[in-house]
Amino acid sequence: MNKLLSPAKTEVLFMGNEAIARGALEAGVSVVSGYPGTPSSEVIERLAEVSPERNLYVEWSTNEKVALEVAAAASFSGLRSMCVMKQNGVNVASDFLLHLASSGTRGGIVLVECEDPGALSSVNEGESRYFARMLEVPLLEPASFQEAKDLTKWAFELSEKIRNVVILRSVTRMSHASGNVICGKLPEKFRTARFISDGSFMDPLRGPVVSTPVVVKHGLQQKKLQVATELFEKSPFNNYTGPKHPELLIITSSACFLYSKEAIALLGLQKRVGILKLGCTWPLPVKLLKKYLRLTDKIMIVEEVLPFLEENIKVAAMDMLKETGIKTFYGKMDKTLPSVGELNPDLVAAALGKIMKVKPKSLPAGYLREIQKVAPLIPPREQTFCPGCPHRASFWNINTALKLDGREGIVCGDIGCYAMASLFPAIGFHTVRTLHSMGSGTGLASGFAKLEAFGLDKPVLAVCGDSTFYHAVIPALINARHNKADITFIVLDNAGTAMTGFQPHPGINESAIGEPLPAVDIAAICKAIGAKVAVSDPFDLEGTSKILTSFMAERGSLKVLIMRQICALSPEKKGKKQFQMKVNEELCLGDNCGCNRLCTRIFRCPALTWDRIKKKALIDEVICAGCGVCYSICPQKAITRTETE
């Protein structure tokens, strides 16, 4: 049985995301939507697995804005719904979120956003907690795996009490770590959808769902926040642990609660430092805050990444100055804690130790010496494309075309596995020049291409993945076409949303739960936009670079080259080799003039290894994916390939 469906009262080891999913199930959620984004994707994946049994509709939408709209429709129809995304997905959904928060909702709707402090799997460490404050909706942050479940379940109740969307915020170390969770009951009845909209204009439950009249609705929205605040004052999700009279009060939320607990233990400060853990972080429960601010004058705020809590608490503290007195705040703003990057128990302990004038026990000298001896032996590893990845071949072709063209073309990158070509230039053969958000590569290219009038006369290219194409690129492509921006646009079509775990997208003819769906054809869309379209297999190095070179030489029109080859990790390919690859040592020139290790030094597939003793290339048969591309690049034809049966 799927552990997500475990019976009530059982204790299960859940990943944070699984706990959130379980919480949604216990709340009787009916519709779940989202867009793949690390560290949030598992919430939807797990719910998709149990969707038939739980009468769930689970959808991977084209982008987060559409996903939120899909979830909102369910809420307007009286169902409970959830929308899941990573931190910057909220930025994409924010226009609709602004209006949704104003119009109000009906069935409970929770926006789960999982953040990535330190950008372990992102190209930003943006903070989306501020959206709660800016768009005036409640914000909840679980600080344990049990809370991840319980708080999610309660979020739906809260949402229905105030008839507005509730944001639940997680972080990588909460979403992707695991802990024991005691399950609650799964509901037996399922709701029916009914969309009533013919009532009076001002009736939030029976009238049309609109954000107007704006000022009136805004006032109602703020009243809803006050209701939420009242509930927060008494919520069990905000609690204090520590001495009655602490010298220092730590106020914290989310995973930072766990770091703070550990830091206190590391320094032995249990009798001197107390922790106020907030699970409801916007609006701040000010009465509760006042109670604990009275305990001491030294307050340390532990959070990541931006000083969201710190700023809000300081404002509240100013208001209650007369009653609670002047406080000394330690946090990010005074640089007690680093202002960027992820926190961990060591960083918190170091800061805490400085404030409390306690030194953490350092590692024994002998142990430190051992570490220093071993550390240089650890081989440095860079991120790279998988063996057999079509992107390696694609960027090889792009580099060839750029060099032959000779005008120093500009390549704008985008988000996906191929983003690594920007992050680790050597694996993209030093071609990509910009990297921002989903679809921004094409928009930037559309802009660069119009600068010829200002003296920037270079070929402009943009790359994007198949999933990214549907998410955000289409408007930019239309812009390029309509404004006569002469760009060569390359779609790296590997038949899936690979970077986040190979989820399907509108180009794939199946749903989140593997049911057949009609695929929307990228080539057809580009042709309809009016572009000149070609499709090529990037593994055909010669053929593809030829097309690309000629596209770049053609001036005055929008050219689209779809480099189509399935991801090496896709179910069709994984574990199956098309070719058996081997290096003929007698032909291999190694590091001599005539080759100088083209395959291991430049092409750098992980399966191509360098035998330092024999001074020859060697194929690691275990990780070789058998794609056969390296056969085409060896100048001596020393790499042989034979078809496997």
């Binding site: 580099n399 060099k403 032959l404 053969f429 003039c593 100088n596 083209l598 430049i602 100048p635």
Partner: protein, 374 residues
Amino acid sequence: MKKHVLEEDLCTGCGACVNLCPYQVIYHDRTVQLHHCDLEDGNCYAFCPRTPSDLAALKKLLFESDDLTTEIGAVKGYYFSRAVDPELRKIAQHGATVTALMELALFEGLIDSAIVSSRDQEFIQNGAIVNDKIEIRKNAGSKFTVSPTVAAFNRVATEDKGNIGVVATPCQALAMAKMKLSRTNEDAAKINQLKLVIGLYCGWTLSAEKYTKLLLEKNIALKSIIKTDIPAGKNILELYTNNGAKSIPFDEVQACIREACLYCMDSTAEYADVSVGSARFAGNWEEVRQWNQLIVRTKKGKELVDLAVRRGVLEVREAPEKSLKELKAAAVNKKKNALKNIIRKSGSVKNLLYLDGCDPVVKKYLGVEKRLKK
């Protein structure tokens, strides 16, 4: 290392660095480095005519010291020559000497294949590898854009074990001479396949991109051009097309010259077995335009010319004194100009880019420069 040549506009497009490895390719008439190679003393650097060369060692290896002149290299003999066959003279350039000699070498089995510049309608040259008379004649005639002939040589020498003859510009002849100093057995075996180098007089080549643009501006269809020439004494480029003769003022053509040619000291292909040019004797152009100047430099070259005369393929006669004098003067002029341009580019007399300040020829003409400057 090669970046110092490619990025510094010193590359002549000779092709010596292509087909040795996967890093350099020729595209249109540009030498492109596809990836970065970190070898400091690779063959590309060793063979490139625009990297430092041990010219003294080369001269010692190839020529007899008595024959050496400072102006035009080794001279065993200096003649006017032309192919005996008038049909051949019609389709080739001036006296058709190059074509006649290469045809003979193939016919007599001295070489198994010849590498000549190809007649590509779009001036995109790849070096034609020919094995018979018909193919050679198809490609006869001077081209004014560069042909990456040495790239073709590199390829043939790898794929084939036969003997090879090459028609080479001065930079290409120098590159192949440098290959003779090679270091490994494999490299030596390849260059040993080279049995004959017929050098061409050369003042400059044109960038295909710029030249094509110019011709389009003049409404001259590329496909219609049969022959190109620079008549002596006139400041024009003469084009013989399907629609009659057309001419372009020389200063417009000058703008299309490859920058690398400005830094070249060699106008007569000093590192070849024989060198061939137009019998440019300004006074009697109409008379001598059907003749070539021929410099015989090596024993091998002499043997081939003697054979050609014996076989009745080539007509050779004494060249007028004036012609040799004029040739030497023109050659010296090019050397001086090259040094002037090099110093202008490097910014200092001490930095001669790829040339060696201690080389006697360089020193001589540098000295002239210095004296003139004073």
